[in-house]
């Protein structure tokens, strides 16, 4: 095989390998992903055994600790616009900004009729100081 043909073969093999790997990556990302839903969407669509990302605000008066040694944090997440509230049980790190009324993102799985939060998956959005509107308006995070 002359060098030019060898180079073409090499290039084709390399590109094909790259395409195959990229496709595998892309394919698995869809099945490994957790859809992001609001509480109202979650109550309608949730299937047991699948994990979902719930985004919403922490409902007032819903936060309390329980379980052995207080390891489980119970709280409810409601739609940003108010409405459906879902209670869940969460174990793991609780970020500093977490409190009632803050926006949170947490990965949950439906078990029976309750929702269990995935360990260490709780993210609380920073009360944003990066606002372009004057202070006092609703944050648009």
């Amino acid at each position: 095989m002359n060098p030019a043909r060898k180079r073409t073969v090499r290039l084709t093999v390399a590109l094909s390998a790259a395409v195959v790997l990229a496709s595998a990556l892309i394919y698995t990302s869809f099945s490994a992903a957790s859809p992001a839903l609001t509480p109202s969407q979650l109550t309608r669509q949730a299937q047991p055994g699948r994990s979902y990302q719930v985004t919403g605000t922490v409902a007032k008066g819903s936060v309390y600790r329980g379980g052995s040694g207080g390891a489980i944090l119970y709280f409810s997440v409601e739609d940003r616009a108010g409405g459906t509230t879902i209670p869940l049980a969460y174990t793991g790190t609780v970020p500093d900004p977490f409190r009632e009324g803050r926006e949170v993102i947490v990965t949950v799985e439906k078990q029976g009729s309750s929702y269990i939060g995935e360990r260490n998956s709780l993210i609380t959005k920073c009360p944003s100081k990066y606002k372009t509107a004057p202070a006092g308006e609703n944050q648009n995070a």
Partner: protein
């Protein structure tokens, strides 16, 4: 004063417009004085933005709450150091920092290239002024740092307590320097394509800037990781958060570029690839800047509203379209001078390194933007988490570390079996020895970590061999002592040996990463005073509670009102390991609805972690005191109803006393991570190696190198 600041911005916008016009006219018409004028407008922009930045900084230091940004991010009780740094904690201030750093670094770049590449530099000037103008325009029209409210409020809202950490204040300037430095190679690359002069000249000129960008960006990323680990309450240094990823992507393509440009310098290959990498790095840097402040992706750093998203998307669209057009239309000039001779050669190793780095960048890109992609494709927004990222980046990282050991020793053009044996025997032996040691030490349960340790050992072996052989050669030639031979060796080829030190640092860093991810013990404990519990091999005991009251000064110098914590004792096998005292700081809020006492502690609480860092392991702890305990809340309610704002501080004293006398059960987050210190040590080694590599060579050597490259250029011309 605000008027002066805003006037500076308007003037800056005018300077940008003029500079772009002058540079483009100068290069198209060949009239040098216009190109010169264009270059001087960059200096002028730097000057005017320095004035604007100084105005804003002074406003913060003088507590001028008429400025909206000062009122929203600073206060009289914010400590002085944080007031100075609060300039860039807001959207508007951070844009000003970005624009200012861009103008300063661009001025430096254009000053250093003022006598060469006049046409390329003119186009680069226009592009850099374009970026500068974009950011200044954003400030003038969307996010004005000099907006005022009169009458000025008496007190500001204070800096978000989550940002009151020293590292957080160096991290943005370093990161922004990295981002802005990434745009300089992009500008020169586009300039070279526009001027149709894609010979070796432009690569040599921007090499140092690409390196500086890589260095600053890397340091910025590491600082962010360190801040996250040692000062935030979750005890991790990397979470595959969208913003972390956004800063990592240009760093990865930048690393790829630093390697592949060596191939272009030595063998004239990969020209299209290099120019594409440069353009991609700059575009990814702009995308990173956009991500942090657009709010399109859910992230810890979800700053900003949608108003800034649209201009950024337009800019990124222009960059991508422009880059593709330029590369495709100039592809004839970007033909390689040589071809790849063999798959087993240094060129191949560098190519493989590039492929792995770009592959890593693609994986991270896909995972980061997946919510947007899936929403566009399936209508349902979904996201992938850290396990998905780890699954694909860990194998790639292993290959990368392995390649960093192969690259320095493998021969150019074609490696034969003989020289492969000579080069690889020692490194392979080191790696195998490490494998045996690790397996006998009984760590077989974590194969990925073992693989990483062995790859790192391979790198140590190969780099050590290079230094050893270099020193031995110098001693044979000049009869110098070992230290003198060593320094002489490094001085005469800083790029190469600095690069080797960087590889060593990366290997050390990955040892730390592998060990701390695979062998970490983490758990949540609920403890009351006197209680102790076991975590793996460690025993943790709650010794006593702590409470600190201070409206202005606390142990962490951050201005919290009340700080509640505990002293815990950590021991292993009966032997005392560490005493930690984590605490949670409660800050004042501006919400009157919480009551006079409630508002003194109702602000953002911040965890002050306590860590015992060691060479072999870090013992880390954070506490979440039960501030909602009935006894404490009773005091808050009583204070709210009985005390006026001036007297409310008394109740804080009662709160502290109650907490000390009857401490409620507290939640502790406890982590023992092995070898974390080596991540930071590795980072320092990388930084040191980078400095060595970027340091200018002594003039004697430079003249000799210049003569050699001139000869090569002549030969190339003769061949053409």
């Amino acid at each position: 004063m605000a008027g002066l600041g805003f006037a500076c911005l308007l003037l800056g916008l005018a300077i940008c417009a003029y500079g772009i016009g002058a540079s483009v006219y100068g290069v198209r018409s060949g009239r040098v004085e216009f190109s010169e004028s264009g270059r001087r407008s960059v200096y002028a922009l730097a000057g005017i933005l320095t004035v604007a930045f100084a105005v804003l900084e002074l406003a913060f230091l003088r507590n001028d709450f008429a400025f909206n940004t000062v009122a929203s991010t600073s206060s009289r009780t914010t400590p002085g150091f944080y007031r100075a740094a609060a300039v860039w904690s807001s959207q508007e201030g951070s844009l000003l920092l970005w624009a200012w750093l861009l103008s300063m670094w661009s001025s430096l770049a254009l000053f250093l290239t003022r006598r060469r590449m006049r046409d390329i530099a003119s186009y680069a000037t226009a592009i850099l002024l374009g970026f500068g103008g974009f950011f200044v325009a954003l400030m003038v029209f969307y996010a004005n740092p000099f907006a005022t409210t009169r009458p000025a409020p008496a007190e500001g809202q204070g800096l978000d307590p989550l940002l009151r950490f020293p590292t957080m204040m160096i991290h943005p300037p370093m990161l922004y320097s990295g981002y802005t430095l990434c745009t300089i190679p992009l500008a020169f690359g586009m300039g070279a394509l526009l001027a149709r002069r894609v010979d070796a000249d432009w690569i040599k000129a921007i090499r140092r800037f690409a390196f500086a960008a890589w260095l600053f960006l890397g340091v910025g990323i590491l600082l962010g990781a360190r801040w996250s680990y040692s000062e935030l309450g979750w005890g991790g240094y990397w979470g595959w958060d969208a913003v972390e990823n956004a800063s990592l992507m240009p760093w990865l393509t930048g690393t790829a570029f630093l390697h592949s440009l060596m191939i272009q310098e030595k063998r004239g290959m990969l020209k299209v690839w290099n120019v594409s990498l440069v353009l991609a790095t700059g575009t990814l840097a702009i995308m990173g800047t956009f991500l942090v402040r657009s709010g399109v992706l859910n992230s810890i750093h979800a700053f900003g509203g949608a108003t800034l998203g649209v201009p950024f998307v337009c800019l990124i669209g222009v960059l991508i379209a422009g880059s593709i057009y330029l590369v495709v239309s100039r592809r004839d000039m970007l033909r390689s001078e040589h071809r790849l001779d063999s798959l087993i050669s240094r060129e191949s190793a560098f190519l493989a390194n590039n492929v792995v780095l770009v592959g890593l960048c693609f994986v991270i890109f896909w995972g980061t933007y997946f919510p947007l992609i899936s929403e566009a494709l399936t209508g349902q927004e979904a996201s992938v988490g850290p396990p998905w990222f780890d699954r694909y980046t860990v194998p790639l990282a292993l290959v990368l570390v392995l390649l960093s050991g192969i690259g320095p020793v493998i021969a150019w053009r074609r490696a034969t079996l003989a020289n492969a044996r000579r080069s690889f025997l020692a490194p392979l032996a080191t790696a195998l020895l490490t494998l045996v040691v690790l397996l006998t030490a009984g760590v077989a349960s974590k194969p990925l970590a073992i693989a990483m340790f062995c790859c790192a050992a391979f790198v140590f072996g190969s780099i050590g061999q290079e230094f050893f052989r270099g020193v031995r050669a110098r001693r044979a030639m000049a009869g110098e002592s070992v230290p003198r031979a060593f320094t002489g060796l490094v001085r005469r080829n800083r790029r190469r040996y600095g690069g080797y030190v960087v590889h060593l640092g990366i290997a050390v860093l990955f040892i730390g990463v592998a060990a701390s991810s695979s062998f970490q013990h983490a758990s949540e404990l609920g403890l009351s005073p006197g209680q102790s519990t076991r975590v793996g091999a460690y025993t943790v005991r709650y010794v006593r509670p702590t409470a600190t009251i201070t409206p202005r000064y606390d142990a962490a110098h951050t201005g919290s009102t009340l700080s509640l914590g505990a002293v815990i004792d950590v021991s292993k096998g009966g032997r005392h390991v560490a005493t930690l005292n984590p605490s949670e700081g409660y800050y004042a809020s501006q919400e009157a609805s919480q009551g006079t006492v409630g508002s003194l502690i109702g602000g953002q609480p911040v965890s002050h972690v306590s860590m015992n860092a060691g060479i072999t392991r870090d013992v880390w702890s954070a506490i979440e005191p039960d501030i909602e305990a009935p006894a404490l809340q009773r005091i808050v309610r009583a204070g709210n109803s009985a005390l006026s704002p001036e007297e409310a501080l008394v109740a804080i004293g009662y709160l502290a006393r109650e907490y000390l006398k009857h401490p409620p059960q507290a939640q502790f987050h406890f982590i023992v991570s092995p070898l974390v210190m080596w991540i930071w040590i590795g980072g320092l080694i990388v930084f040191g190696g980078g400095l060595i590599a970027i340091w200018p060579t002594p003039s004697v050597v430079r003249r000799r190198v210049a003569a050699r490259s001139r000869a090569r250029a002549v030969r190339g011309l003769a061949r053409a």
